[in-house]
């Protein structure tokens, strides 16, 4: 089937197209440069056309989500809708049901969402949930930062074996890239402890976070994986954590990149939680200035923000000790989920409020990061869903980024506490994002960061993943009409996925199964076999499951997109 999207105003930053009136054509699920006269015409005159959104970091599938849904039925009752002819019924606000997750991303014009923390032991279940999420493609990132084997190889600096371990494990769990969460800290949580800073060793391991980060980065680049290491740094949410964060970014500066697509060797996730200056919550101040200064000078790093949306949400992360400290802070119910040999996660409901000085400051720090980073290709829009807020708030964040007036109004009207401007530089920043920069931080940038060669741009041959928003960029003044911006980005006029129209006028019209995107390293088979022989005795000794029950078999990924990578170039 051929289609032509006629007369739209196209923002395609990857191809340097910034608001040109032109047609976009696609055929059999791919973008093409011309179509025959039989092509079906979709009139989108003067509407915004962008590649479909790419979310670089969200928690949408896996064991944490299930714990969240089980222990927060009061969240599930929010956002309940009856079933329609096309959709199943939806439920949940911060932890939506699987179908609701797919529908809601689709309505915002998103096509790809990275599930950012998969404990390998629970990978099977993660894939089962991905099967239940429709309409978006999901690359899952397995957790490696506290894995016993990884810590052993990192300690002994056996990078070759570590690379072989990663390439085997990506095949075993059908994962896309390497995720680290509080390296060494989640392991320490097994002893009721945490690590502080990148030079603090995990108990009984004698290996530091810095050594683990560097080793994984070297192994990642040795294999030439499409994505760099994806790091949730140590000391999350602690005032005074800025030096740890900058130290984390800086410690991989000398490692050579091995990828033709991406520019970075480290992706820092939900950076907003990691840049608090001061020594306690009383004297805390924004560290965004220090960090953006560093980032503006160093191109080996990209990050996503984790913007606070000021909602009641559910925090969930594979940073077990941090979740316990959150529980100690707000006194709300806490759930812990330990994963043997690999990681530990936790959950706590959290009510971010504009009345709270600290939450308002966090809100301001996130925006400072967006506005202080000069190169939009280094920054991505996320809320670390659901940790800083649910993903359905992305359109609202876009409206904040595009309107200085709205930001100042929130500070003037006391919608946020005065700490927002007293302890950050937000009030002095009058930068406003334009539509092209929005397209960069929500689709083109994340796609490049993940090394995708089939999405995030409207290049002929790429997947026909397209979003059309009911806005005329020549008419609207985003600075003065934040509500219109939020409404339009929240309900796409069209969401097209692989050439199929899934959303029309903000409503789901078609439901398709998700694809799972995973990385298959080739040319490393010998090393992989050797490492498996070495690993198996320890695996059999320490794991409570048999290896036969650990591996993710092919039927867990009925619609795979396998990214083949030739190891060592």
């Amino acid at each position: 089937m051929e289609y032509i999207l006629k007369n739209g105003i196209v923002y395609d930053p990857a191809n340097d197209i910034a608001g040109e009136k032109m047609d976009v054509m696609f055929k059999d699920g791919k973008i093409v440069s011309n179509v025959s006269s039989d092509a079906k015409v979709l009139d989108v005159t003067d509407k915004i056309v962008m590649p479909a959104g790419v979310d670089p970091h969200a928690h949408i599938a896996g064991p944490k989500l299930v714990v969240g849904r089980i222990y927060r039925p009061e969240d599930s009752r929010k956002g309940v809708t009856p079933k329609t002819d096309v959709c199943r019924s939806e439920s949940g606000f911060s932890i939506p049901s699987c179908p609701a997750t797919g529908y809601r991303y689709s309505r915002m014009g998103y096509g790809t969402v990275v599930e950012a923390a998969v404990p390998p032991l629970e990978a099977k279940h993660t894939h089962e949930e991905i099967m239940a999420i429709p309409n978006i493609d999901v690359p899952p990132l397995p957790l490696f930062g506290n894995n016993w084997f990884v810590m052993q190889y990192a300690k002994e600096d056996r990078i070759d074996e570590l690379a072989a371990f990663i390439s085997s494990w990506l095949k075993i769990v059908k994962g896309y890239g390497v995720k680290l969460v509080n390296p060494c800290g989640s392991e320490a949580w097994g002893w009721g402890m945490n690590v502080h800073g990148i030079d603090d060793p995990a108990p009984y391991w004698d290996v530091t976070s810095k050594e683990v980060i560097r080793a994984l980065s070297k192994a990642n680049e040795m294999l030439g994986l499409p994505h760099s290491i994806h790091v949730h740094a140590n000391d999350i949410g602690h005032p005074g954590n800025t030096p740890t964060t900058i130290g984390t970014i800086d410690c991989v500066k000398d490692i050579t990149k091995n990828s033709g697509v991406r520019n970075q060797t480290i992706h820092m996730t939900h950076l907003q939680f990691h840049i608090y200056n001061g020594t306690s919550w009383r004297d805390v101040e924004s560290g965004a200035g220090d960090v953006t200064d560093y980032i503006n000078k160093n191109k080996h790093v990209t990050f996503d923000v984790g913007q606070i949306t000021l909602d009641e949400t559910t925090t969930m992360t594979a940073d077990g000790p941090h979740e316990y400290s959150l529980h100690a802070l707000n006194g709300l119910k806490w759930a812990n989920k330990d994963i043997e040999l690999e990681t530990s996660s936790g959950l706590v409901p959290f009510i971010y409020s504009g009345k709270s000085p600290v939450h308002s400051l966090m809100w301001a720090i996130g925006l400072e990061l967006f506005l202080g980073t000069e190169d939009p290709w280094q920054v991505c829009l996320t809320t670390d869903h659901p940790n800083a807020g649910p993903f359905i708030r992305y359109p609202r964040i876009i409206s904040w980024l595009m309107s200085n007036e709205r930001r100042q109004e929130m500070m003037d009207n006391k919608e946020v506490h005065p700490w927002a401007h007293r302890k950050s530089a937000l009030a002095t920043m009058d930068r406003e994002y334009d539509f092209n920069e929005i397209a960069t931080i929500t689709r083109a940038g994340p796609a490049k960061i993940y090394g995708f060669k089939d999405r995030g741009a409207l290049t002929p041959g790429f997947n026909a993943d397209i979003a059309v928003y009911d806005l005329n960029p020549n008419d609207i003044d985003p600075s003065r009409e934040p509500t219109a911006i939020e409404a339009a980005f929240g309900a796409a006029m069209y969401t097209i996925k692989d050439g199929q129209i899934l959303v029309k006028d903000g409503e789901i019209v078609k439901v398709v199964p998700s694809h799972t995107i995973w990385t298959n390293v080739k040319g490393f088979e010998e090393q992989e076999n050797a490492i498996m022989e070495k690993v198996m005795p320890d695996f059999n000794r320490f794991y409570t499951v048999k290896f036969e029950n650990y591996k993710v078999h092919d039927h867990f990924t009925p619609y795979p997109i396998v990214v083949d990578v030739q190891a060592s170039k």
Partner: protein
């Protein structure tokens, strides 16, 4: 003033849901609107007229001018008056689950028994149950830590387990007996029980007050003896007689008050 009378003619084996039929939403409805309305039943909807004879008299400018009378056994009608903010509902019969849940104002009278979850998460208004009610009256939603915050519930009969769970304001009066764990997790508010209580009132309470005029079966260890008080004044209300006062729950450093009628609970002295 508008009077809407719904008289039951057929009792559904599956519960009807009435959260859309509250004064706030129907004050300007005519008889025809009710006749065209499909009421949720399980996972589908059926015409309201399948179950009720409908009469509408008078006119209303707002919900406060509405009086709804539900005649018959409403034992299979859930969510009566759920989220209402004004007006009056009289149920001449029993009511099913969630009667008066999340109510913000107005008044509901049940001239019969109410099922569990009556007055769940009430924020205001008045709920009067002439008969008895069952579990979780004036409580929170499952998983929720924020319960009834304001308003008044009066139960002329008996109450079930976990009355006023997570109570953070408002008043609950039980004229009859009460089952276990009244006021569990409460942080504020007042519960008065005139009859006997089986056991454990005030478990995990942080603050607020519970007064029991009947005999208590088993006291929870987390509540510790404070003093004997005569004619106490609690939250601006005066009570006559001698009461044994306990505070707790000490497991949570709670500062709540539990008052037991000294006469009826001599064994604890």
């Amino acid at each position: 003033m508008k009077t809407i009378t719904l008289t039951l003619k057929k009792k559904s084996p599956i519960s009807l849901e009435f959260d859309e039929l509250i004064p706030d939403k129907i004050y300007n409805w005519e008889k025809a609107d009710f006749e065209n309305y499909d009421v949720p039943v399980g996972n589908t909807r059926f015409p309201l007229t399948d179950y009720f004879d409908i009469e509408v008299e008078g006119a209303a400018e707002g919900p406060e001018e509405v009086k709804m009378i539900l005649d018959g056994d409403m034992g299979r009608v859930k969510y009566i008056g759920c989220e209402m903010s004004a007006g009056e509902i009289v149920v001449n019969g029993d009511a099913d689950l969630h009667c008066g849940a999340q109510m913000k104002g107005g008044k509901i009278t049940v001239n019969g028994d109410a099922e569990s979850y009556a007055g769940r998460e009430m924020e205001g208004g008045e709920l009067e149950i002439m008969g008895s009610t069952r579990e979780f009256c004036g409580c929170s939603y499952i998983g929720e830590w924020r319960g009834m915050s304001d308003g008044k519930i009066t139960i002329h009969g008996n109450a079930g387990k976990q009355l006023g769970e997570c109570l953070s304001g408002g008043e609950i009066y039980v004229k009859g007996n009460c089952d276990i764990l009244a006021g569990i997790h409460m942080t504020k508010g007042f519960i008065q029980i005139d009859g006997d209580v089986t056991r454990w009132p005030g478990g995990q309470m942080k603050n607020g007050n519970i007064l029991i005029n009947g005999k208590l079966g088993v006291l929870l260890e987390g509540l510790v003896f404070d003093q004997i008080v005569k004619d106490p004044e609690i939250e601006g209300k005066n009570f006559s007689g001698k009461y044994i006062k306990y505070t707790g729950d000490i497991a949570l450093n709670g500062k709540g008050g539990l008052y037991l009628n000294a006469e009826k609970n001599r064994d604890l002295l």
